[in-house]
């Protein structure tokens, strides 16, 4: 059923996006990021170029606005930065299709931690809306970790988790 999207067959084509990082790629490459808990994986796909980008954001926004250094772990920074990167490569934001996954509450018993996931979801929604990028699908919330892969020929986002197995969105 998932023979063409099975994980182990195409590891050599993977472009892995680390925590707090972002990257772009073109088919036949596959963009992937692992173990999203309260973090959110943002996948942007440009069908006309069979290309796309992915970000792994940890937090909605920085507490300290004067902070310098790497800012790609914040949704307020990563979403516009990823769109700008794709536009520089020749995509138009009007053609981009967004799919997102993550924003879980890994320790649902702890209310302070549980809030981070949902705040991340809200901020990513807001940033995509501000940028005028269509959010086509999402697999967010819950209390389980997810790993995602964006296939750049079809735009399918494969979401894997220990709890629910493999799901395509």
């Amino acid at each position: 059923m998932h023979s063409d999207t099975s994980y182990l067959d195409n590891v050599d084509r993977h472009v892995t996006v680390g925590v707090g990082e972002l990257a772009t790629a073109t088919y036949p490459e596959i963009l992937t990021t692992q173990a999203l808990g309260s973090c959110i994986g943002i996948a942007l796909w440009d069908p006309s170029r069979q290309a796309g980008g992915m970000a792994h954001v940890m937090l909605p926004s920085s507490e300290d606005t004067r902070m310098v250094g790497k800012m790609d772990r914040f949704a307020t920074h990563a979403v516009p930065a990823l769109i700008a990167l794709l536009e520089a490569e020749g995509s138009s934001h009007r053609r981009l299709v967004a799919k997102i996954a993550g924003g879980a509450a890994m320790f649902k018993g702890d209310s302070m931690l549980a809030g981070i996931g949902s705040r991340n979801i809200d901020e990513v929604h807001r940033q995509l809306h501000l940028a005028g990028v269509l959010l086509r699908a999402e697999d967010t919330g819950g209390d389980h970790a997810r790993t995602i892969e964006l296939h750049l020929d079809t735009g399918i986002l494969v979401v894997r988790s220990y709890q629910y197995g493999i799901r395509d969105i």
């Binding site: 925590v19 309260s38 320790f107 702890d110």
Partner: protein, 203 residues
């Protein structure tokens, strides 16, 4: 204070805090499971937050984890992490059955691990509280069984707002006779680190 600016003396003091906390926790665990549990010298590492998910040999490693938030004079928390098989081995030791009996996680196994971890956390913070003359209580523990990378986000979520590096104080507990291999992370928030170092007299 920025954790990058901690002096050698302050780092030594934190390592000592880790040894004392983990020493008491190991004793409590040995008594609880009626098996000898050893501990390694606590490791104190300064890591970029992006590489924290890799400390368990890959972000997707399946681990059992219990998070205990600290209340009182110190904020932050304690995180107990054990690979899935070690978590199940601990359950078997608690029930006084041969290791390998518990095959999967149900409500009962989850409750048992949460119980063990919260006793460990309580003895860890009690010894630190005595040492630094602070009032600290662990809050209600919370359990998760999932990918290590996602679990370890609790380490970086609060730190990540303000800093790019995380100070990780972890101790490995293990048993020679059985396959128990567990870790305890002591994770005070950045403000609490100042409080703790101040109380220990190494400002």
């Amino acid at each position: 204070m920025r954790i990058e600016d901690l002096t050698a003396m302050q780092l030594d003091a934190l390592r000592e805090v880790g040894s004392i906390g983990a020493g008491h926790a190991a004793t409590a665990l040995s008594q609880l499971v009626d098996h000898r549990i050893d501990l390694e010298v606590p490791q104190l590492e300064l890591l970029p937050i992006g590489s924290v998910p890799d400390v368990f040999g890959g972000p997707e490693t399946l681990v059992g984890a219990v998070y205990d938030r600290m209340l009182g004079d110190l904020g932050g928390g304690l995180l107990f992490v054990a690979p899935r098989d070690s978590s199940l081995a601990l359950v078997d030791l608690m029930r006084n059955r041969p290791v390998g009996t518990a095959k999967s996680f149900g409500t009962e196994e989850e409750a048992m691990i949460t119980h063990v971890a919260s006793i460990l956390a309580a003895s860890y913070v009690a010894s630190i509280a005595r040492l630094a003359d602070l009032n600290i209580l662990p809050a209600k523990p919370s359990f998760a069984l999932d990918m290590a990378g996602a679990i370890l986000e609790v380490v970086t979520a609060e730190i990540g707002m303000r800093a790019e590096n995380a100070l990780l104080l972890r101790t490995r507990f293990f048993s020679e006779e059985t396959t128990v291999d567990a870790y305890m992370f002591f994770l005070p928030d950045p403000d609490s680190l100042d409080v703790l170092l101040g109380r220990l007299g190494v400002v």
